[in-house]
Symmetry: C2
Subunit: 693 residues, 2 copies
């Protein structure tokens, strides 16, 4: 509805989403207890929001150690220190987001925080970073998932890229079909992953303590250690740290999902975040430790040194988790397959979260007028589908271009993550400073929060710089090309909407004063849709009315003329000659000439339009009607009145069920039941008959 | 325009195209001499229509001889006899089409003849055959063209498929852009081809007579002759003949293009056909003869026997024309390159003809209601573009699937050609018999014509049977799968339209009698488009009128309420609550409840709609308006009145030039100038004010 569009897109997201959320969550028209049933208890919120952050421990330890080993296997000794740095960073980021949940419980996340506190342009940087991130989440998670599947079933190695593409297609299909995320089916893989990795780590440690330390299959790999210059050494440690930071991806998920939690929302979300952080830190440290103890070797095959290594040319390297599982439980045993299965499943689940986040971000951007307004129709399956398809195609393109190679893909990944982290934290710092200046209550608490976010901002910015320096030439430059393009596009859309708003704003000079009222009913053949249009036009009691037929075929025109007379229709029929077999040109030129003689008259042109039940029927109908409508809309003083004719097949349009849209649980929105009762109507002024002049 | 649709699609093509053609070609409103300038003189009609049939001599001799050589190079001795059979057939077909031009000068071709004389189902077989044919014309001509390019520039061999795909893409781009076929630029390649091949053949023959016979590079290829059983021998001769029949493809082009000829049309078209036939026969016989004399060897690499031959595994085989040109003029000399260039050019030109024929056939089928009515809008660039894109994608898919291999593609080609030949000729036989029965004048001439077409039908049917038998297992079965599918689809479309026509036909029970007249103006924000809609609604003087706002946001609703009061708008504003952020549901439920209380009232809902100037602006506007319109159209008694609001950018819509559509020259249609003078208006009854009751 166009006249409504500016109104509902005009409010900024922050204000837009909170009254909506309030209305949805706190009150009418559904009874609260019913709504509460839609909200997530912690034990379900944890797996739903944590599949993304937790899944990243499936690849972060491997990438961290892999980079160290570029310098030689002796460098593994630095592993615990690098891992410790990652853990500290993870802890700081978790604590920072704990602040964010409290300050912005509406679920807007880093984008909202940056936009409100740092201004539009910073907000758009975050938005661009997040868009890139969603695509990379799909690509990296799927690549890692496929990696773990191949580690368990090595004969699938030749089909790596195909498997990745098929996985994305399946995710897209599932999402296009519609999924309810809150179902416990979604919780199982995450718990299974946490459980099986924990059991594996404990088993390995117990075996170490019992003096029966598991030994990785790749422990015998030999490689000459080069002696590195000090600069190269520091760079290597930094690169290792940068890759290990992949463990932080997805931490923001809980902060974005606060509205979906059961009350007390903030407390529950904060508790879930802390639990998630604890689990992530435990699993990450455990995996790094056990990998070092069991002597896992993992080569970075993109490096020149390894070009001729057997592990890079013939055998597929097995993932770090697979090597540990194999060493701990024995190769191809049941527990080994459980670990691999759970890891692959949780990674695909993490990819799935991007399919929810992408359209949600689109709707927020649309509400803020940085994306086409049509994206703000969150309940719109068509728009949602377009988002899913766009995301899938981009992810598939990237997976194919980089041959589903995890190590290459990771280079492109965390730039976006840390861009949004840094700007989000900086925004929080601004937020607390503002509160302090305003002299809000609880200065102590505010200063504590400020400190946490200040540390967070500093550290994430440092990591962003490190990541940029160490990864730029390894592929991250692509992100630095794409993000500005997205940024300019979003800004351009916003400026466009602003210009249009200015153009259509009502000002002092705005005067309208159409007078006169003429109706034209376009007649083709004497058929029911035409007669219905004629009937409606007569019912509307226009000042004058005429039927118009454009004569493509003289015989048909003569026949119509006779039928018109024989049916005794009171409305006069005017026949326009059409020398070029064209219907619109003669009609338009007639309308123009009529307006030229009758002044600023409004002419309503009645067009019948078929309503059909199958999508393919649209290929068979209404094409000319559409063209005609578009052309008539360009003529001054013309209103096009569409009179629907429902073909029998249109019965199919009723009785369709509404399916849940992915992301509804995540936003805390109930699946909308069809409203049955009559809407409450508030009348501004009593409707009254307009006196006819 | 929907009401017009049944009318102009209702006439059968035969009746539909001739009055149009008449009106277009003989008279008003453009002066005749101006129109005559658009029509083709013979020297331009020949190259335009003959590129397709003449280009086939570029591959037919090669395929004919190639098949013979499967039995051993000794079998080349049968070449002249097989070629003679092809020449006789070509002559018969040319004479048959000479009859068809006289009997059906409207340009409908075999489809029209078969449909009129043999009934709907035979007509649809021809239509399906022609659709397959157009795709194969593109595929075969491009493959052969690329073959000749590679023969001249052998280093391009690894890129064969890519070259073919690029050629199709270029053809598609040129056609999407719009081409004037009548320009002499299109005539040059055909004349150059005829000329250069003729010079080459004469040079070769003169050298033979002077005792300096040119010798082909492949003359030394050795192959053991197998002794064939008699059945195998006959099959080989038949297969060779079937492949040689590729020379006949495209002969029907002139018969389809009669309306585009200068007067006397029939005489000119017939003369052009005979000239084309003469040239085709000369070039075909000459090429076969010179190929045999110079000892060209060409292997069918799809045959098992040749699997290990060097010519099939390493070297690209050079086309027969390239081998002759190289032997006659010397390898890589200027005349050699001229021959190859002209051959490649005329083949691409032949492919181009399919890009014209495909949408034209679509429009004829649409007029007969066997294809979506939208295709009958011949002047519609959008529809035409869709046709071009569909044709290109199919041709590219086939070229890629068969690796642009001419020999494989030819197997699929001539099934369709001979299906339409046979049914067309059979239809002509029926036509003459009917004329005889009716006792028409000139029995002698009719009986002569009948005999020619009878011979034609018998021979083409025989060839069709031979082709089917010899090619079925070589890939032609695909055509026998696709054609029935197309046939059923077209029949299904026809049955659908028939059912709809029946559904909307006016019968004795048809009564309409809407009464009451209420207007609803949908208001979002107080903006100009809304005020314009309101103004128009007021001007239309409905019995009652109200503005309706759906309150997504309570604050915005309150603001609107105040503005409404302050602007002193007389129309009452009704505000509907929307608990689910949904605009349409509350409005629809309000409209339904209103109709429930007010009886069979017509409610006109006014919606503003933005008119924009750039395609991308549509991505930013009107989405909700479209959804709203679709939903409102399902409500009983509702008319949707679209009030256009022209954004500044919509100025761009004016001042666009019209580009010629490919196929316009071919159909003899002038490029339509924008009508400037007022159309002649014929009024059935004087328009008068309807008395208000």
């Amino acid at each position: 509805m166009p006249s409504q569009e500016p109104s509902d897109a005009g409010r900024p997201a922050s204000r837009g989403s909170s009254p909506l959320a309030k209305r949805l969550l706190i009150g009418e028209p559904l009874p609260s207890d019913k709504l509460e049933g839609q909200l997530l208890p912690k034990h379900l919120a944890l797996p739903i929001f944590a599949s993304d952050p937790l899944s990243s421990v499936a690849y972060a330890p491997q990438e961290l150690l892999m980079i160290l080993m570029i310098g030689g296997f002796g460098f593994v000794a630095y592993g615990p220190w690098v891992a410790l740095a990652v853990v500290v960073l993870l802890l700081v980021v978790v604590l920072s987001y704990r602040q964010l949940i409290k300050a912005y419980p509406s679920g807007g996340g880093d984008y909202e925080v940056a936009r409100k506190n740092l201004g539009e342009k910073a907000g758009l940087i975050v938005a661009a970073a997040l868009l890139v991130d969603y695509v990379m989440t799909v690509a990296v998670s799927v690549a890692s998932g496929v990696d773990n599947i191949i580690s368990a079933l090595p004969f699938l190695d030749p089909y790596r890229v195909w498997l990745a593409v098929v996985a994305v297609v399946i995710l897209a299909a599932v999402n296009l079909r519609g999924v309810r995320e809150s179902s416990t089916a979604f919780a199982i893989p995450t718990y299974l992953f946490i459980g099986s990795i924990a059991v594996m780590l404990i088993t390995a440690l117990v075996r170490v303590l019992l003096g029966d330390a598991p030994i990785a299959e790749s422990v015998d790999l030999e490689l000459e250690s080069e002696s590195l210059a000090q600069a190269a050494f520091i760079l290597l440690i930094l690169r290792s740290f940068a890759s290990g930071c992949a463990a932080l991806t997805g931490v923001e998920a809980i902060a974005n999902g606060v509205p979906a939690f059961r009350r007390p929302k903030i407390k529950n979300a904060q508790a879930t975040l802390m639990i998630m952080g604890g689990i992530a830190i435990t699993l990450f440290s455990g995996l790094v430790a056990v990998a070092i103890v069991t002597g896992v070797r993992y080569l970075d095959c993109t490096e020149q040194v390894y070009r001729d290594a057997a592990a890079c040319t013939t055998d597929p390297q097995r993932s770090l988790i697979a090597q540990i599982a194999s060493a701990t439980f024995g190769d191809f045993t049941v527990p080994f397959f459980i670990v691999q299965g759970a890891t692959a499943a949780v990674l695909l689940l993490a990819a799935n979260t991007a399919f929810n986040g992408f359209p949600l971000l689109g709707s927020v951007l649309a509400a803020d007028k940085y994306a086409p307004k049509s994206l703000s129709t969150r309940g719109d399956r068509l728009i949602f589908s377009n988002g899913v398809i766009a995301l899938s195609i981009t992810a598939i393109a990237i997976l194919v271009a980089f041959q589903a190679d995890l190590t290459t893909l990771i280079q492109l990944y965390i730039i976006g993550v840390f861009t949004s982290f840094t700007l989000g934290q900086t925004g929080m710092v601004r937020h607390w400073i503002r509160l302090l200046r305003r002299g809000a209550d609880g200065r102590g608490a505010i200063i504590r929060s400020l400190s946490i976010n200040l540390v967070g901002a500093t550290m994430t910015l440092s990591v962003l710089i490190v990541v940029t320096i160490t990864k730029f030439t390894h592929g991250a430059w692509i992100v630095f090309v794409v993000m500005p393009i997205l940024w300019f596009l979003m800004l351009g859309v916003n400026r466009y909407y602003r210009d249009v708003d200015r153009e259509i704003a009502v000002d002092a000079d705005t005067t309208f004063g159409a007078s006169g009222d003429h109706a034209v009913v376009l007649v083709g053949r004497m058929q029911k849709p035409t007669l219905k249009a004629l009937d409606y036009a007569i019912a509307a009691r226009h000042d004058s009315i005429e039927a118009v037929h454009v004569a493509i075929d003289d015989d048909a025109a003569d026949r119509l003329d006779l039928e018109w007379a024989s049916q005794n229709i009171k409305v006069p029929l005017r026949i326009l000659e059409s020398p070029y077999r064209d219907i619109s040109a003669p009609l338009i030129s007639y309308l123009k000439s009529r307006r030229a003689t009758h002044g600023a008259e409004v002419i309503t042109v009645y067009l019948p339009e078929y309503i059909v039940g199958h999508w393919w029927e649209n290929l068979l109908h209404n094409h000319k009607a559409r063209r005609m409508r578009h052309k008539l809309m360009l003529v001054h003083g013309v209103v096009v009145a569409l009179v629907p004719w429902l073909l029998d097949s249109s019965d199919l349009l009723y009785g369709r069920r509404s399916r849940p849209l992915p992301g509804q649980d995540r936003r805390g929105e109930p699946v909308r039941p069809r409203p049955v009762k009559r809407e409450q109507i508030r009348t501004a002024a009593p409707p009254k008959r307009k006196p006819r002049p």
